[in-house]
Symmetry: C2
Subunit: 258 residues, 2 copies
Amino acid sequence: MKISPAKTNPSAAPVSRKQRELAQRETLILDAAQNILHQHGYATLTMERVAEAVEYSKGTIYNHFSSKEDLICSLCCRSINNLIEIFTRAVRYEGSSRERFSAIGIGYSLHHQINPMAAQIVQIIKINSVREKISPEKLGEMESLEQRITSIAMSVVQDAIGCGDLPLETRAITDSIVFGCWSMHYGALLLEQSDIPLKSLGFSPAVELLWLNTQKFLDGYNWLPLSSASGHETMFRKLSADLYEDEINTLNNKNKKS
Amino acid sequence: MKISPAKTNPSAAPVSRKQRELAQRETLILDAAQNILHQHGYATLTMERVAEAVEYSKGTIYNHFSSKEDLICSLCCRSINNLIEIFTRAVRYEGSSRERFSAIGIGYSLHHQINPMAAQIVQIIKINSVREKISPEKLGEMESLEQRITSIAMSVVQDAIGCGDLPLETRAITDSIVFGCWSMHYGALLLEQSDIPLKSLGFSPAVELLWLNTQKFLDGYNWLPLSSASGHETMFRKLSADLYEDEINTLNNKNKKS
DNA sequence: GACACTTTATGACGCAGCGTCATATTATGA
DNA sequence: TCATAATATGACGCTGCGTCATAAAGTGTC
């Protein structure tokens, strides 16, 4: 049983009604899966349940996704696409290179606070034995998205080097700065998501620490303008207000409800 | 079916022959599980297979571990215990506070390079739906180990503040430094372990980046003595040679084989 | 060593969830 | 209207977890 190409990124290719219907249903399925994930957790995400939610049979779901892992990978791609939009917004911000880079971090953090399951999914997708079950095409798609999002982050670092905000050392540092921030954010959000009792281990809220640490990290690289303790808060609030009004509202509503 | 307390940490309590035999078998089971994990990956780790490997029946395995997740959690505890030994070694090192703290990072990194599966296990254990299946006692045990290892790292930061190597700011920073390093290391090693093609995304080897970034991070906090590009390498080699000879040999042998 | 009784080991069984495939249903087009 | 192709369905096979009635081994007493 084969089915249309079903591109996540609808290229400019002409699409027939069939293809549109198919793409639509694919979205429907993904929405349903996301819902189940958010409302009842990963353990209850079964293909049967997804099928039931969209009122199609299991077989039909399998026409769209070659395995459960494949479906999850698609959710992951969605998430990265979402992040790409956020990153792009941050990069276009009118501010110093450091502000723009920091804004990326805030966006990343907000995205994961709004979609707590995203972190779990990303985490699950990274487990090798899970990866093995994903179709090569979908893995390729995810990889190319990762490529795109990485290059967005790297471009800001390049800008900073270009305009002298970052002292140019002999060694290439673009990758190390991006990797440092990525790993720090990734690690911090995973640690927060998992129900490790950080608080009882003596830690302040992860999101706060993450912001502070990112600034210290950039200070370590002498990324101008250097931060000051008082400047931190101001900058954080400014960037949040200027770039992420919607996200912050969403987050507040979410917290209110629970 | 109940069975003896089976403490992982053999407290000074008098142990009967029975209890000793039981503890021994528990070790046997854990060894077998670890083996399967290392040789054939997570996907093939089934309770049946473990039972077969130790030549006991499945039921007997379940006398020791209430679920598969419980068993994995025990492996995780082992891993943390291993890390505690490494951290302790680092803390006792005769050197500056910064060297000792950095040494912790190196040890953490080495441990995960030697036991690639450790990262995967830790990752798996952090997924909520997995956690739910672990007995509260074992989770408590793990938590207390996490408590211990955290406090070891924190103690070095405290020392540094005490002796003036770290400028004392108004805000408590002990937790933020430890959390920053933890998240950076955790994130970096997870990213490396997962088969994300970091190289093709334009990144240098994760372990190198991790070391550089850790130093930049500590520089950002003004942890004396500040690092210099040339000093990095020297310090790294010195610490590795002085503290982790065994680990490095193990690692080299491992790489030679493959 | 025989017996009663307790403790421990066993693997067949029930169950859940993934993925398949023969069959049923619907769409297309001549 | 009918033939043929495309798609949907859900019963089925399979794997792996965890249970529990039963078997086996151990322990203590005479």
